[in-house]
Structure formats: C-alpha cells, structure tokens
Subunit: 316 residues, 2 copies
C-alpha cells in the first residue's frame, strides 16, 4: 500500500500565569512552531485557550475582567506573528483561544490554519464541561458553562494540506459522538487541545485515574475511528492549580507513538503514515459494510438516560 | 453515597474442539457456575458461542453440517442443567450460542437468565464481522456474515436482579454506538461474550495490538458509558487456531479490576459497587446536561464515510 507520510507535531504549553502577557504566550508558541518545522512537521497542534491562563477557574462578574481573556479578532495585532511564521516556514497549525464575536457571542474556539498562514477552518466547542454557578468553598471553579455558549457550527473535517483534518476541544475527546461524526467525514487526523485539572472539584477522584481516562479515551477513539489524533495540553501549576500533561500523538492502531515527558513547553513529533488507517477502513472498520444506523437511533432521539427497552423475548 | 454491591463473575472457557460434545461443554459451564456462586456472584457471564467450537472458521456448504452447530430451542435437553443449576444456586447468567429459529433464521445470540433460571432477555448480534465468501488460501475463515443474519431486535437493557443489565457480543464491543445505546437505557452492567482469533487473516496485524485494542475498547466504553463491563472470552488453541484470552471485569472508572491469567476454563470475580457509576453520571457524564444530539445527526444519517463538511469560516 502506498504510504502517505505526514509530519505531525504537538506543542504542549507549560503554565501561563494570570499576569503573563499575550505577547509572551505568543512568543512561546512561535518558538515551538519553529522547532516543529525544523523537525519536518507539516502541522503543529497547540493547546486549548493557548493565549491565556485557564481563566474558567475564576468566578468573575465584571464584564471587563472577563473580556480581557477573549480575542475580538483573529489574527490580531498580537497573534499576527504566528500567521506570518506559519507562512514563512510553510507549516500549518491548530490554535485554541477564547472567541468574542462582533455581535457579542463568546465561544471556546479553535482554528485550523494551512501552510500559507490562511485560516481554513473554525471549531466552536460543543461539549462544555463544568458549571455556570459559583461553587463557593471549592478550591477553584470550572465555569465553562458560564463564560461560553455551546458551539453552533457542528463537528467538521476540512480537506487541506493533502489530508482530511478535523478539530475538537478538550472535553469533546471523552464523548464518542465527537469522534464518530468526524470519522464519518473521513478524518485522517484530528487535532485536540485541552486544559485538564488534576483535581476533580466534584468528588475525590484519584488523580492517576484522570490521566488514565484521558489516555484510554484517545487510544480507543483513534482505533475505533481510524484516525490519527494529535492532542496538546497546557500543563503544570497555573496560579496554584495543577493541569496534567500527557500530550500525545496516537495512531489508528490505538498506540501512543509520542508523548511528552514534562509539564513545560515541549514539542513532540511523529512522521505519521496516514495510510495506516486504510487497512482498518477496508476491513474491521469498513463502516459501509458493518454499521447499522437503524439500531443507533436512541443516540439522537434521547439526550439523557431513559427507561430500559428490554422486554421478555417472544418465543421463536 | 449508598453502596449497591453486586457480585459479578466472568467464566472464561478454554478451547472447545470440533469433536467435543455439547454435554462436555455444558458440564464445564456448570462447574464454573458453581464456582461463581460459591464466590458470591449474583450473575456469571459465559462467552459467545459457548457450546461449540468457533465454527465460523470453517467453510461449510452442507446444511446439515452447519445446523449441528445451532440450537433449535433454549433451554434444550442438553442445556437444561444450566437452568436448573441457576435456579438451585440462585445465580443468573449470560450465555452465547448459535440460534436457529423455528422459522429458519440463524442468529449469533446471547440470553440473560435471572437467578430463578428464567430467560428474561435475548440479544441477536448486530455487528457481524468477517465475510460471507470463501477466502481460499487463508489459514482459516471468519464467516459470520455467511452463517448469521444481522440481529433484528436492537440493543437492549433489562431491569432484573436489582440492576439494569445490557448485552452485546464480541465485535459489538469495538463499536461506540453499541455502548451509547445501552448507556442511554441506564445500563449498570453490560455482559459481552467473545471469540477473537489472535491472527488477523486480512493483513499482518501484530497480535499484541489485537489484545491492546480489545482492552482499550472495553476500558474506554466502561468509562464513557458509566457502566460495569463483564467480558468473557473463549481462549486457546481450537483446532489449531488461537483465540486470545483477556477476559476482564472493568469498572465505570475505566479500570480493569479482574482479568484472567490463563487460556483455560477460569472464573474471575469482582464484588462490584454499582453506585460507583453514580458520581460520573452526576457530573462529567451527566448526559442530560451535556449531550448535544443536534450535532450527532451524521451518526444515523450516514452509514459509510462521506465527504468532509468543513468550509472556510464566515467572518464573525
């Protein structure tokens, strides 16, 4: 089978403190973009909300305090250098940031930029985790449901850079529907940025299980959806709150082929063969031959859990 | 939170050779059912096609040769002792077998029997793997698409034995839709039997990856669908063909809490706390709060892979 080599880089970020400027964050991204290009990457994947600290941990009611975390345009004066570097080096990228639209809507957004520095795709996060109310007495908040609206554009794949590339963000990676909707569009690579606290504020979940569920979710998703996954986290201690690392590149065989070793800025790279997915697509996961959507209807007919459907079998 | 203890046993089978009688297979199942009951299990899960060798490996055209692998009734004279033992010991079970209906249809089927020896549920396998044609020159065949029709009764969960229990079979475990349809019915436990060759006849897949994809699929499914999974395989060398073992009990945290150590008849047990799922159901996987079926439509609208939907974003 003909190989389809595609160099993928994942650029993990160490912490961004509340006092850090946009310019300092962008400078770190540019440096990692240069490293990714030097490794041979055609695309580099940056984390979710990669320009600021993970601000949904803060309860804020002042609109100006909230708005300083949001981007009113993309590119902006401060991020233009990312696009210029992309074009100069001929490398595409995925970037997560907080988006404020001209008509006042706020989304947790990622963009896909091709190797000419042009924005070719945009994704607005659909599976917002956390809560919208102030959880008094918790060590920190997880206010994504307060600061963002649910994405209004769906899960999409783009044909760009000789590949089909999909996007999602953070908590989306734990939802099987995310991956299947992207797989049904033939995604060769899915980029996902995340910020995941090591501490669960809702119940005393062992921290090692949070890394475990992150990794098994990505491995199963890559395998079952015949796609490469490039997952980039922001890691380490931000303002006293710990975000886990574990940025990875996963193959369609479900194997982790590259993983970060630090909680700092770190680039990992894999010369992926996109054709590795083809064997799975032709046999075990030939969706056209094996899927049975007539038996999947509950997935779109129910939102929450409902009654069991099982009844005593009729004699046959 | 109040605990909901439920003893689960998985009874892995070593190989069943083509020359082995039904009676000998049933005797092995009865012995393991007794062990499961002595451990405190309320239910024991047996493998797929647990009464015969994994016959889809053989190309057969003679109808009588095929029919001898199928059960025309359940219970039957030969399996009645399983139901009697279930009732006497007060233990439920899941059993996979080849079903021939009175009107001539053939399914790869499992049944759920409660602790009074009564059949409360039936599942007919939906995701049939393999092929229907004779692959000449292959070391063995995988003819499930020849010998079975696609299941016609859907994915169901039954309220029985103080729990919500769902069923699926073998290849179903690799399909995210299986688990989600069961999760949307509130499954506390899903039983799955399997027979999985260590060798992929379609392409030279490394055998260790086949065990890996089995385990990550089950772990991710249990976690993302807030359910316990009890997975029972038939293992070892059947007529020269190797089936992998790896029978497991997986918690809703995605952890393997019990796993077989042999390729023989072997019972594993876990005193599961069904309430462990509740924390996930109340927070990260509160489906009613977080799922967005309006963005999942492709899952039922497409069977196979289609065009990417992504387009250049409108300015906002």
């Amino acid at each position: 089978m003909m190989k389809r080599p595609f160099g993928i880089a994942v650029a993990q970020l160490g912490p961004i403190q509340p006092s850090d400027s946009r310019a300092s964050a962008v400078a770190r991204l540019v440096e990692m973009m240069r490293e990714a290009a030097s490794l041979g990457a055609r695309m580099v994947v940056f984390p979710e909300l990669a320009l600021t600290t993970f601000f949904p941990r803060y309860w804020m009611s002042d609109e100006d305090a909230i708005e300083r975390y949001f981007e009113k345009s993309m590119p902006s004066a401060q991020t233009q250098i990312l696009f210029d570097t992309s074009k100069n080096l001929g490398i595409g990228f995925y970037l997560g940031y907080a988006e404020l639209t001209t008509d006042g809507h706020r989304f947790n957004t990622s963009i896909l930029v091709d190797q000419t520095g042009k924005i070719v795709g945009r994704y607005r996060k659909i599976h917002l985790p956390g809560h919208a109310d102030h959880k008094v007495g918790k060590p920190f908040q997880h206010l994504e449901k307060k600061y963002f609206e649910v994405g209004n554009e769906g899960f999409h794949v783009w044909q760009t850079m000789d590949a089909r590339i999909g996007m999602c963000l953070c908590n989306d990676r734990r939802w099987t529907e995310t991956w299947r909707v992207l797989a049904l569009q033939g995604a060769d690579i899915v980029a996902v940025g995340y910020n995941t606290p090591s501490v669960n504020i809702h119940w005393p979940e062992p921290p090692h299980l949070r890394m475990h569920s992150h990794l098994i979710s990505l491995q199963a998703a890559a395998y079952q959806n015949t796609t490469w996954i490039a997952a980039a986290g922001k890691a380490g201690l931000e303002d006293g709150c710990h975000l886990f690392a574990g940025s990875v590149i996963v193959s369609p065989a479900g194997e982790i082929l590259a993983q970060t070793q630090s909680e700092d800025d770190e680039v990992i790279y894999c010369k992926a063969d996109l054709a590795l997915a083809d064997t799975f697509r032709q046999h075990i996961f030939n969706y056209g031959a094996h899927r049975r959507p007539e038996h999947y209807r509950l997935i779109t007919e129910r939102t929450g859990v409902g009654d069991p459907l099982g009844k005593e079998p009729d004699p046959s």
